[in-house]
Amino acid sequence: MISAHVTTPKLVVSWIALLVLTFLSFGSSLLGLGEAELFIALGISVVKTFVVLFIFMHLVEQRFANRLIVILTFLFIVLLVTLTVADPLTRKTFPPRPDPAASPYP
């Protein structure tokens, strides 16, 4: 089930796309967007990763099973990042524990 072929024009187009994305992420860093900067940069690099994987590494030509592996790998990174980021984001959710040193046993 070969659905697509990586041809030279496609390679050129994706190369240009990668360059444009690189400039985009560089440019966005000059806008001074603060917190959002990180997410924009990460988003752009995810897109670039997939371009490299599917075009330059010829994943579009592969069977679904092989593509599934890459998707699973990506989901694992998502898992790592989500549960890790959930930690600092939720650190102040509960009222702070009473400091035992402040009120020793009566």
Partner: protein
């Protein structure tokens, strides 16, 4: 005398598939034919030598630790040496013994034969995996000589970034070691998919193959994360990258997230292969099909999957948010469900079987008891409210040694005895085997059971002195460690003696139905001349041995 040996003496079956060809040990001779071999069986033997050497080295470190803890004050080494010893013990045992041990030795040897294949899918990568392992061992040994490490095997920041020891080189050595693991696991996955014999469908495969397959998947997904974390740490240690330093906006807890994202799955890398061994042993020695083949096979995959969702239970008191702690605590319980499914299925397999008591079977019983004990305490320490008290005490040390030594090392010994006739064509002395097995068990219990009491009583881990009230339990533990060491040396001696003086083994001394036993002992260089035709599962004990052989036709 045990049933199995009687079987071996009376069954008139001197041949096996490939017996008319020279066996793999004699097919070629000379050092070159070993060092450049692409035969999975010879590579397995080379790995065998390697992991046994490192088991010995790690064991020496352990005996130094335990001997120091014989008395409450300093016994014979200083605090710094003690820190070095527990770090080197951990690193050696985890990466140079425990992780490679069962896959690269027994997996390499029996997995292709179980599948009816002549070799693994990529024999050259298999050999490369061995040399990469040797390279990592050389780097790690070099780092041990040039400064060692005193951070503990977990390399926690911030201390590890400023430790004056050879942390960077340790990181590099472990990184290289990971490459070797990945090479072997890719090989296993591809071999299982593409090299199965005619008629050998997934549900006819021996359960050891399922366990090796699940292990390989974890290795493939988790190991790169370890590599990445250690590179970051090495950059920090060598060049002051400060990624985990709050002063520059970093977070030291991030390192623990990254480390345990690998290392919790890594504990399943260490235990899953032994589940595979145990499944083979329990079926072969109770001459019975598994109570539920699918339960055992799929729970391996379940463990591989859920093992990725639980890493935070190592960080309950490291500053992890209460929310994350709750999520991780709850997810951790699922692992216990899958493990329990396995345990119950093994026990149920004994029912109605005709059990023969040989050394591997005895190791199975020890495994069952110790693994359940270790797993139950795992659930206990995964309960946040309890772990606040037990974290970083000897209770945790006891928990993981019950699983890693009581589980994996026991299964390694079971495998070493179970496949010994296949690997070397000889029978070891069964009486000595049983006796050493008992010594190992008693030594183990004396070493680690007191550590639960010590931890619960409040003795912290990683200190070289302790209050005098803990002494009697520590003395028991140290005495147990010496007995355990002696038991292991005797068990090894028994096998080494059998290499030369053991009675010749037929192709199938245990009366097993698994496919590796249809070949000659030891197998010929190519295992099979033609791909075998398989018309039964690996556990058809209702068939007589003749009929079973007929339904797994091979030349």
């Amino acid at each position: 005398m045990s049933q199995a040996t009687i079987d071996a003496e009376t069954r008139p079956d001197p041949l096996g598939v490939g017996a008319d060809h020279p066996d793999y040990l004699r097919a070629d001779s000379g050092l070159r034919s070993w060092l450049l071999t692409k035969d999975h069986k010879r590579i397995a033997i080379m790995f065998y030598v390697g992991v046994i050497l490192f088991l010995g080295l790690g064991g020496i470190f352990a005996l130094v630790l335990r001997t120091e803890l014989l008395t409450p004050e300093q016994t014979f080494i200083d605090a710094n040496t003690y820190n070095q010893m527990f770090t080197l013990h951990g690193i050696t045992m985890v990466w140079l013994f425990m992780i490679p041990a069962i896959p690269t030795v027994f997996g390499n040897f029996v997995l292709p034969i179980m599948l009816g294949a002549k070799d693994l899918a990529f024999p050259r990568i298999n050999l490369a995996s061995f040399y990469v392992y040797v390279l990592s061992a050389i780097i790690l040994l070099g780092a041990m000589v040039a400064g060692g490490a005193d951070t503990g095997w977990t390399f926690y920041v911030p201390y590890s970034t400023t430790s004056p020891t050879a942390v960077t080189w340790m990181g590099i050595g472990i990184f290289v070691n990971g490459i070797s693991s990945i090479m072997t696991s890719v090989n296993f996955i591809v071999t299982t998919h593409t090299m199965r014999a005619k008629g050998l469908s997934w549900h006819r495969m021996p359960l050891f193959v399922w366990a090796s397959y699940a292990t390989s998947i974890i290795i493939l997904f988790a190991t790169p994360v370890l590599g990445m974390s250690l590179v970051l740490l090495a950059l920090d240690h060598a060049f002051g990258l400060s990624l985990f330093n709050p002063r520059y906006g970093g977070d030291p807890v991030l390192f623990q997230h990254l480390f345990w994202f690998y290392s919790h799955p890594a504990v399943y890398i260490m235990i899953l292969p032994s589940f595979g061994v145990i499944s083979e042993v329990v079926c072969s020695f109770s001459h019975n099909q598994p109570a539920s083949y699918r339960a055992i096979a799929y729970s391996s995959l379940g463990i591989a999957f859920i093992g990725f969702f639980t890493w935070g239970h190592h960080m309950f008191v490291a500053g992890l948010s209460e929310f994350d702690a709750g999520v991780f605590g709850a997810l951790s319980m699922f692992v216990a469900i899958f493990s329990a499914i396995k345990v119950f299925t093994w026990v149920a397999t004994l029912r109605g079987g005709s059990i023969s008591f040989a050394t591997p079977m005895l190791y199975f019983l020890w495994f069952l008891f110790l693994f359940v004990f270790g797993g139950m305490t795992g659930v206990a320490v995964a309960t946040q409210s309890l772990d606040v008290h037990w974290h970083d005490t000897y209770f945790v040390v006891a928990h993981f040694h019950f699983i890693m030594v009581g589980g994996t090392l026991t299964a390694f010994l079971a495998a070493a005895h179970y496949w010994f006739p296949k690997m070397f064509g000889r029978l070891y002395d069964e009486r000595v085997g049983l006796l050493t097995s008992v010594a190992v068990f008693i030594g183990f219990v004396f070493t680690f059971l007191p550590q639960f009491l010590l931890g619960n009583g409040g003795m912290p881990r990683r200190y070289f002195t302790y209050p005098a009230r803990y002494q009697w339990l520590n003395v028991l533990s140290t005495g147990g460690a010496w007995l355990l060491g002696a038991g292991l040396i005797l068990a090894l001696g028994n096998l080494v003696i059998a290499l030369k003086w053991g009675k010749r083994a037929g192709p199938n001394p245990w009366g097993s139905r698994s496919f590796e036993w249809i070949t000659a002992s030891p197998p010929s260089k190519h295992n099979f001349e033609e791909t075998p035709e398989i018309e039964r599962s690996a556990y058809e004990y209702t068939l007589s041995e003749e009929v079973a052989r007929e339904r797994a036709k091979a030349r």
